[in-house]
């Protein structure tokens, strides 16, 4: 997927001052080393590099994801009485759904939606026998980030990571101005959905729940919550999934509102129209996020996102780190691509 991000005229490197202004969220995707053997993908999200702010100890971060690719097939079950593949008769929809929920339950035991903070060295230990390029990249990550948090690989890891990172950022910064700003953006998103013909009751609960979380991370009122409580809520499905769905609505609304801009990117990911893409790859829970989702969410809410890819690629000069920042500052509709290469 990196190939989709070739720098073009539109893109320009971030200056150091830009980086410092972009307080918010940083993220990294870790692509599985050997996808042919392991058909899943790992994702990591990292918080902003602490050393830039000289507060390394405060920095934390991240989510990892791991998810089986969709392998289920429709049909071949049910009323298939004279099917050529009789053995398939036992794999009806019910069986497939049950197997999927077993996989999810299995995964849920391994890792909560948002896990505890771990040092970067834990990541290095995991890849100890892996590619030296990966280890080198993890070392670079270690210079920039103090810790990671893993997120459950249920296909919602990007949105879940964004939720936690953003709310944690507000909790830490108590930035009232930022809260006011994003609330205005959320209202815009609500209008966007209405103008696109979404029925109010399909999205209003999700909007309300997100705004509630936003208020509760600001201290000094009755509903204020602590950092521990934020973690508990992020792991509580009845809250966490609602916020994830809120972001999915916002993302779908942004993509459809600016469908002309997103169309060529969507065409690279699927065969259908922008609307079909939103219906099949954005709105359903558990659908993984790609650069289109990330760009749209970042644009819709006006929150910069940095994605760091941890893969085995390297460049001629020996550099091994690549960062992509999705930003709505300065110019809209473009992302910045920076690399050590």
């Amino acid at each position: 997927m990196e190939e989709n991000f070739q720098p073009s005229d539109q893109m320009e490197p971030l200056s150091e001052s830009d980086r410092l202004e972009q307080t918010c969220i940083e993220g990294a995707y870790l692509l599985q080393v050997s996808r042919s053997f392991f058909p899943w993908k790992n994702g990591l999200l990292l918080h902003r590099m602490s050393s830039l702010l000289n507060e390394k100890s405060k920095f934390h971060s991240i989510p990892i994801s791991r998810r089986m690719q969709n392998q289920e097939e429709c049909g071949a079950g049910g009323g298939a009485t004279s099917c050529e593949f009789e053995d398939w008769g036992s794999f009806g929809d019910e069986a497939i759904i049950q197997q999927k929920s077993e996989i999810s339950a299995d995964e849920a035991q391994k890792i909560p939606f948002v896990a505890d903070k771990e040092p970067i060295s834990a990541l290095a230990a995991e890849y100890q026998s892996g590619s030296p390029i990966l280890l080198e990249k993890i070392k670079i990550l270690g210079e920039q980030y103090a810790a990671i948090r893993r997120t459950r690989g249920d296909g919602n890891c990007f949105f879940r990571s964004f939720m936690f990172s953003y709310l944690e950022h507000i909790l830490d910064s108590q930035d009232q101005a930022e809260v006011d700003r994003i609330k205005a953006k959320v209202e815009e998103c609500r209008k966007t959905l209405q103008s696109l013909g979404y029925t109010d009751f399909t999205f209003e609960d999700f909007f309300a729940l997100f705004l509630e979380q936003l208020d509760s991370v600001l201290q000094g009122n009755e509903s204020s919550i602590s950092h521990d409580e934020l973690i508990i809520r992020s792991r509580d499905q009845s809250i966490s999934d609602y916020v994830v769905m809120f972001f999915r609505f916002v993302t779908a609304g942004e993509i459809r509102k600016r469908s002309e801009f997103f169309e060529p990117f969507v065409m690279g990911l699927s065969n259908g129209t922008v609307e079909q893409f939103c219906k099949s790859a954005v709105e359903p829970m558990g659908e993984e996020s790609d650069h289109v989702h990330i760009t749209a969410l970042s644009d819709a809410l006006g929150v910069p996102i940095r994605v760091v890819y941890l893969d085995r690629s390297s460049c001629d000069t020996g550099g091994v780190s690549a960062t992509m920042t999705f930003s709505t500052q300065n110019k809209c509709n473009c992302w910045f691509w920076t690399s050590e290469c």
């Binding site: 009323g79 999205f203 829970m285």
Partner: protein, 194 residues
């Protein structure tokens, strides 16, 4: 935990534009977990004129999990089990989203009646017939609509009896009725000309 306030809003919305959409959803029990939906057969298809009843059960995770739907009315369609009424439709499975509603799901089922996908079948027998002998498929689908989805018209047994009383052999009456999609007059014509 089902979001019942949302379910109530959905029911209100459905009843509000029932005239326009023809889609109806009503609760079967007090608890709003079991619902019953009906969709009119799409015009220009062998299902035209039929009213199809669909049983709806809301799972605990609704609206995060899809509603469970199956046809109560028997229907001859590649993506619906002719035995159980089970429906093969992506939005009722992994493509479900809380952005969808019972009404939009039923509209999708209605659209599926208009546009069968025999390559991704629920009922292999029907799908095979659809692909290999489309005319027979049309006849059977019409016959099933006539027989099972039209409550106001005479039951098929009554038609058979009427024609048998006219002196035609029962087996021939049944095959003729099936061939013309259950229409009594067309069957009579066919029997006379045959």
């Amino acid at each position: 935990m089902i979001d019942f306030s949302r379910v109530q809003k959905e029911l209100q919305e459905c009843s509000r534009d029932m005239e326009a959409s023809g889609i109806k959803v009503t609760p079967v029990s007090d608890n709003l977990v079991n619902l019953s939906g009906t969709i009119p057969g799409p015009i220009g298809t062998p299902y035209e004129g039929g009213i199809f009843k669909i049983d709806i059960t809301l799972p605990d995770g609704y609206p995060f999990e899809p509603p469970k739907m199956h046809f109560v009315t028997k229907v001859w369609h590649p993506n619906v089990s002719s035995q159980s009424g089970a429906i093969c439709l992506d939005i009722l499975k992994d493509q479900w989203s809380p952005a969808l509603t019972l009404k939009t799901a039923l509209l999708s089922v209605q659209a599926l009646l208009s546009a069968p996908e025999p390559d991704d079948p629920q009922d292999a027998v029907v799908a095979q017939q659809y692909l290999r002998d489309y005319q027979t498929f049309l006849g059977t689908a019409r016959y099933w609509t006539e027989t099972f989805a039209k409550t106001s018209s005479l039951g098929v047994e009554e038609k058979v009896q009427k024609l048998v009383e006219m002196g035609f052999p029962e087996a021939l009456v049944r095959s003729s009725l099936e061939a013309v999609g259950g229409d009594e007059n067309l069957a009579l014509e066919k029997l006379c000309s045959g």
